[in-house]
Amino acid sequence: MNISLLSQLAWRNLWRNHRRTFIMLSAITIGVWAMIFMTALMRGMVDQMVENGLNTFTGHIQIHHENYLDDPAINNSLPYPGPELIAELNNSPAWTTRVRVPAVVNSERESRGVMLMGIESEKEKALSFLADSIVEGRYLKAEKEKGVLIGKKLAEKLETELGKRIVIMSQDPDNNIVDVGVRIVGIYQAELRATEEQFIFLDQGYTQKILGIKNQISEIETREENFRDLAARKTVIESKLEQNQKIQDWRHLNKLLAATLGMMDGFVLIWMLVVFIALSFGLVNTLIMAVFERTREFGLMLSLGMKPRLILSQVLFESLFLLVLGLTLGTGLAWLAIKPMESGIDISVVAEGMAKMGVGATLYPSLETRDILTANLIVILLGVSASFLPAFKASRLKPIEAMNVN
């Protein structure tokens, strides 16, 4: 008997009890929909966490003075990269340098502790969210810039505004307090409130002049092609560094982010397996019933000379059709559910809680092909294996006994 006849038989058998098939089909559809939908939401959340995290002055790879991470003070600076290092850094899609030291800002009314960033305004554009996030005023000019950029929340806390002056206090390498009055030329808005309160930005050259550190910087940051695989790139750059300089990737700089990303893949797989197991009880049950009510029929077929192997395949085909139908519907529905949401779901109700995780007030689900494939593979492979038992039972029926069942 050929495959097409076999599958035709299986297909028709499926619809002999259409009500049962529909119920099982709905269950598979809902299960698959939930697998893919939920995964897309979670992926979207984690993607956003990673993106926000890396955009917030972490990048992919950073180079510091070996003591800087322990003690982020001005004394632990490194010289601006020399020609050899620059040549190597130019192999990265983007890189920049920053002065990054603790400081205190005073407005007329309030004071706050902040992180003072001396940035190369042009290069910075490719590495962080800053340039695209100015909500009032302007971004730092490339040359002769003496203004400061501050966050919206910080401006509120300091009770100051665009165009007003603030005083920045920090330390020079000899531990003398230096202070300078600067005008606010721009206000930026970040996804996270904490970022807005933490960072203020000055032109790098101007910062170095104020702090009395000619050509010294706190960090070099690069962005690479693929943020997941940085080992090779790290080794290459490392060979160009001096003794007391240390190179680290984002996994080291932001351990929570790295842990979350790692947990995600495990979580997706477990979630899919759990849904599948819950489904499989119903699937096996449906097949057992389908086999049971056709005992006579199978007996008849066997006694007419049909090979047990073909009976087995017939039942497996039935299960396969059911699974494929459910998968198509489930995947399609998930796609339909997620497509309109790709422009973002408003989750501002829980925004502050999500902010703690590094996620903004809008969630962008991310439908990934590999997740769809995983869900489909799990359901097909495990589903057919689960159907093996009832199918095997059907093929091992004794013709005479089976025909006498009423």
Partner: protein, 407 residues
Amino acid sequence: MPISLRLAWRNLWRHKRRTWLTTGAMVFSNVLLVFLITWQYAMYGMMVDNSLRMLTGHFQIQHPAYFDKPRIENSFQLSKSTLEALENQDGIDVLVRRSEAFVLASSRERSYGIQIIGVEANKEASISSLPGLLKDGRYLQANEEQIEIVLGSRLAKNLKIKLGDELTLFGSAKDGSTAAAIATLVGTLETGVQEVDRNLAFIHLEDFDAIFAMEGEIHRVVALTPSVDSVDTLLTKIPELGEDVVVRDWNKLLPELKQSIQSDMASSWFMYSVLIILVAFSVLNTQLMSVLERTKEYGIMMALGLNTLRLASLVLLEALLMALLGLLLGIGLGLIVVAILGQTGVSFPGMEEMAAEFNIPSRMYLEIDLRSAMAGPLLVFSASILAAIYPVLRLRRLRIVQAMRAP
């Protein structure tokens, strides 16, 4: 045993495998739900508890404007008698006063802008976990001649000062004048929470009062109650304290805490509902099959005088028995799983980093909590019964003569 119960029970076991598979779906989901919900609520409880025990307390009394603008002049005064009356009120364990200001702290080598908190040293330990997290030295002690200060360990390290070293504090006082003082480091705290370790410093409230010219005014009264759940009812019983103060509970003080729980809860319950719906479908299918395949039998029973109502209750009873079986087995096995995990503890890769962020231990020892253990299985139970309604409704379409002729 009434006849219908016996009938229902026997009907269930006419198809042993089918019944076990359907029950199996329930048991699987129930065990999973018991474990997950117990874990989830244990984690929330710990998150809330540990976060509130850090500094916030269960509720605070503040100047009305202080929450939005934590400026030094937004302070208030409560008379001693008011405070004592409050502290003796039922349901309040302990009250402490605090004041806060932003200062520039300079050691010989370094300067940092920090948050300095004036505390009642002898009472602080009964409300906050921080005094217990000493890394070096000791906590503030009363009646000393010099101004004592305790710093976050990271801050002390960044300032490059050791126990016994002096630190200059520089800020502005309540009246707008310059506030300056020299304090001696007596201890450092290590919490694992970056904001605390890098940013905070504690001095005696009396010293704070003198340095910042507070004239007896303070910024917060922090209160601890026996449990988070009792805060709401307690707040309704607090007498009017005057126009220049407000009472804020922990939800208002730390909105992100409740919200991160809510967002986690929303995604968890989405997943739980999917599980429950899948089980319901499984039950629906089983019940529908068992009704359809017995059409002939039902026809005969009705011909013998059984009315539709009895028949319906029989089918519902079958569903009920099966759901009950799933419920009991599920809760039983679920509790065993929780009990075992209570001994060994649960941890997963990445939990350590999560733990530091959300103030929870990196290995959780679950405790059996019947309320959270019951929630999931009860929902599965109700969903299973609901699923049996459609098959029951189909009974109404039964026509005796045709039914008896069914194959």
